[in-house]
Subunit: 269 residues, 2 copies
């Protein structure tokens, strides 16, 4: 195979197996890579501090590889497969014919929390991958330091979460499968105030001083945060709403809290 | 058929055709009814100012009809169909076996805009039904008066939009397929300030006085508002973001604007 000619791969090729397995399970590959599909996400990967391990194109989108190979300066292997095979693998109904395997940067949680006035989102039991991705996008927009995921929370590598994050997953550190003790312990060690977001009760969000380090705790769609979390948090806060309205979308609630903190800090943007 | 015994209906029954047609097209039925599925949405319908025209249950969920029939006080007709048929109709992969046809209340747009300090969202080209539904939910939470939809915007009756609205679609008036002239004209007549939300440029949202009547204009995911809208709006505003971040999720951007307006008004909630 001469340099610059991508390898043509069939259904049994190990690379396709890695993509298929990752997307089917909504998880990392066995060797810890994140599989992404679509022109925008692949572009985002190339402008993020991640390692692009491999590129895969459908035959009809093969010409899209060129610019990415140039951007990678020969440091990435490209593969091409048939349109039919690509479609059978891809997590979307109308795939764009370009995909990548990425290795995300890892950073110790303690480093993120130690940032001055760190802004953190903690998702506890959020089930909708779109909500998780949207929170990552808002976190990046407001200069957030990290996203912590409690037990029974959807995977950030679910293709819908990756898509909703619009690439923020490649830049905002995410920590998974944390126990309650780990979350509250780490926040305490680093002086990060824990603010539980509730649909009612607690203080009005805009009445809480959010100019110091703060972690916003967001619960499961529908049921919200468990009582144990509400009682352990430093503060319970609510977004004031019209009487009779049950709750906001979970990603919206988290985003409003991040916005309010940024606003109080005079975030210029 | 004795009173209280729901009719058992098969695939060719006109009622099932109405559900199938509505869900397949993501639209109202031909006679203007909204089809909804799931326990939560049917419950929401019963606590909203809508007319419940018919209830449909899957055989295995038939006992769920009782409480709704009681709530309707005999003013609604109930139907039961086989689980297999129900599943084949329903817009979700794991339906809950209960559905309803609703007639939403209609209210003249001018009435909504005439409300004191009316808060309005105007979606122009938003494609994601989840985003539209989420905006409706936030609108209701912050006491919004109406949602206006410009050309090429997803239908609010798309099942994913209905679901994401968590019932707010039954209570917040939505106006569809409005031309630019209609939107700007109606806002002008009622002294509603038009605020175009942009990813960059314009004034910081928190620097704009939002205590009077205001309509927030939100553009298509990815491309945002067209230049013509930006130039016709009274104000262009942005949510301050970290340098290099392209944009927020469209529903999040709209929700932040509604929150900011509510905050400035001292919305107690």
């Amino acid at each position: 195979m001469k340099a610059g000619t991508p390898a043509l791969v069939g259904a049994r090729h190990p690379l396709l197996r890695r993509f298929r397995e990752a997307w089917r399970r909504g998880e990392l590959t066995e060797d810890g890579c994140c599989a992404v599909e679509g022109l925008h996400l692949v572009e985002e990967a190339f402008r993020s501090p991640v390692e692009v391990v491999a590129l895969l194109a459908a035959r009809s989108a093969e010409e899209r590889l060129g610019r990415f190979e140039a951007a990678a300066n020969g440091r990435v292997r490209s593969y091409v497969t048939s349109d039919r095979l690509f479609r059978s693998l891809a997590p979307t109904e109308t795939p764009q014919g370009i995909a990548a395997l990425l290795r995300l940067r890892e950073q110790p949680l303690e480093e993120c929390l130690a940032r001055a006035n760190a802004l953190v989102a903690v998702l506890m039991g959020v089930q909708d991958p779109g909500n998780l991705g949207t929170v990552l996008r808002s976190l990046e927009a407001f200069g957030g330091a990290a996203c912590l995921l409690g037990p029974d929370t959807v995977s950030p590598f679910n293709p819908k979460a990756v898509r909703a994050s619009a690439g923020s997953l490649f830049r905002v550190p995410v920590y998974r499968r944390l126990r309650l003790e780990e979350i509250f312990g780490a926040c305490k060690r680093h002086g990060v105030q824990t603010v539980a977001l509730a649909a009612d009760g607690g203080r009005r969000l805009s009445d809480v001083n959010l100019t110091g380090a703060a972690a916003f705790l967001v619960g499961r769609e529908g049921s919200g945060l468990p009582g144990e979390v509400l009682s352990r948090a430093d503060i319970v806060a609510r977004v004031p709403m019209t009487a009779g309205v049950e709750s906001l979308n979970a990603a919206v609630a988290a985003s409003l809290a991040l916005y309010e903190a940024a606003r109080q800090r005079g975030f210029a943007g």
